[in-house]
Amino acid sequence: MKKKGLGKLKSGLVAWLLLLPALIAIYLMVWRPQVMGIALSFFKLKGYSVQEFCGLDNYIRVLSSKNFPLALKNTLLYVFWSFTLGFLPPLLVAFFINEMVHFKNGFKTLIYLPALMPGITVMLLWKFMYSANSSGLLNMILAKFGMDPYGWLNHPNTVILMLVIEMTWCGFPGTMFLYYTTLQGIQMELYEAAMIDGAGPIGRFIHVSIPQMGGLLALNIVNQIIGVFQVMNEPLVMTGGGPNGASMSVSYLLYRYAFLEGKVGDSLALGTIIFLILMVATCFYFYLNKKVEENL
């Protein structure tokens, strides 16, 4: 009897031991820096070394600088454009491919191609395509129609749209594939039943397809918003936040503060602010997720 108890204790210990490496890593990489970041955002920092407690000074400086409202406005513009451009195309393309009887696999492979390229390659490739002189692909096309070269990334009003086009180009194949696999999971009988009830193609789209994938769509939208809100790589690689701060997102501002301008305290305070905003969105995502799973 005693041996059995000891054996149980030992197997419990082994289980904890196997779990430990992952837990320590999560602690070191996620929880510790997160807590540290919030705590240190109330301190004055000189370079990367901590000086003294300074209360809300960092926050006041961040919120009162003209960069913050600008970056927040830009980030919301990123979210708006990526939603406008990025929501319908993958959905429609997934539907269209699902209808095909000719060249179906060919379309799937060709359209998936951008998703295979590393993100940095896509960004640099598009940077060249947007090039302001005559060597860029888009200006080559303009020249074919006899128009002058256009500075695609040099106009404050459209630069975010241009970056979002690049993001959509490399992001939509993945989303499209997700929708496509869901569409494949919808049973043929549902469509046939709707057809017998007299529903045409549009009727079947509204009454069969949309209810069947509505939950996934909602989740994906929220996920996309959370993802785009954190956009940093595109402005960093393609524009450097320019022209004149017109493409600066909050995450890029965070990077600028910490690694280019030496305002580490400000960047930690900004990080905490973004964290709070995103946690609200994430809680909403969780809530939605629960709703969707209950309806399945």
Binding site: L18, A25, L40, Y48, M100, H102, F128, L254
Partner: protein, 309 residues
């Protein structure tokens, strides 16, 4: 048009496709897809074609297809670009990093997923909730605070920010490895995949005297193959696309991975735009190979007939 007769009923059905209106609609959709495929392909084709042009031809920008193109000149240009880009070192680094990260991910997340799925102890419910919350926490806001924590990374004991036992791990691969072990999403993927394996199988193996390690390698991993391959592909291809982490953490350029290297050599002398385009092509090849290798292996169930009765 007998291909249409076998079509599954979706939005367009067989009967509708026999009408003229249905035919027109179908071919309209087909045309739209051709355009979409064109939009996705066009930049890639342009990238490949530009890699084989001369710098002067690119700057002029009035030819789409390279003039004076021949097989011999193409090979010469590939070799010239390879010499100019000096990517050998970064390729070795990326290979090393992707292999080690893959092993660490499968071992750490895999074992943790196994324990949470099949060896649940008291108190592990809380752990699992914590892991789920970890997954949902936005990563980008931690960039600066993780960077600070790398400056004095705790080993053995963690007693604060400026402790003597802490070590500066910047300019090493340690942060990459630890973050590979900290994948909360992969942990949950593993747990879900292992949940689908019947407990009776594990119990049978235990009665036969299998250790946890053996159960994991000989039972869990083979039975959860699609998930294992999915995770492996993610871990292997990660270093081939992440330019930011190496760029930020490594000061020694000889430790750079391919994406970070590409990012910094844009202004290097001799790297003209055609050479650079060739570099982009080189950098896209390994992830494409990985995808082709894992694509078929990631789908399909294998649970049939494992437990009888």
């Amino acid at each position: 048009m007998n291909r249409f007769d076998n079509k599954q009923t979706t939005l367009l059905s067989r009967t509708e496709l026999r009408t003229v209106k249905g035919q027109i609609l179908y071919w309209c959709l087909f045309a739209i897809l051709v355009i979409v495929a064109g939009v996705t392909l066009f930049p890639c084709i342009w990238m490949v074609l530009n890699a084989f042009k001369t710098p002067r031809e690119i700057a002029a920008g009035n030819t789409f297809i390279p003039e004076n193109f021949s097989l011999k000149s193409a090979i010469e240009q590939i070799l010239y670009a390879w010499d100019m880009l000096e990517m050998e070192r970064s390729i070795v680094n990326t290979l090393f990093l992707s292999l080690t990260k893959c092993a660490i991910t499968v071992l750490c997340s895999g074992f943790a997923g196994y324990v949470l799925s099949k060896r649940r102890q008291k108190g592990m419910g809380v752990v699992f909730t914590l892991v789920v919350w970890t997954m949902m926490m936005p990563g980008s806001v931690r960039t600066v605070s993780t960077y600070l924590s790398y400056l004095s990374f705790p080993f053995i004991i963690d007693d604060g920010f400026d402790s003597v036992t802490n070590v500066n791990v910047l300019n090493t691969y340690i942060p990459f490895w630890v973050s590979a072990a900290a994948g909360s999403f992969t942990l949950i993927l593993f747990k879900n995949a292992f949940d689908a394996i019947p407990n009776t199988l594990v119990d049978a193996a235990r009665i036969d005297g299998c250790s946890n390690v053996r159960i994991f390698f000989q039972l869990m991993l083979p039975l959860a193959k699609p998930t294992v391959f999915y995770v492996m592909m993610g871990a292997l291809s990660g270093p081939w696309s992440d330019y930011f982490t190496p760029y930020l953490l490594l000061s020694d350029k000889s430790k750079y991975t391919v994406p970070a290297w590409l990012f910094v050599i844009e202004s290097k002398t001799g790297v003209t735009q055609n050479v650079y385009m060739m570099g982009l092509i080189f950098a896209s090849i390994p992830p494409a190979i990985l995808y082709l290798f894992f694509q078929r292996r990631m789908s399909g169930g294998i649970m049939i007939g494992a437990v009888k009765g």
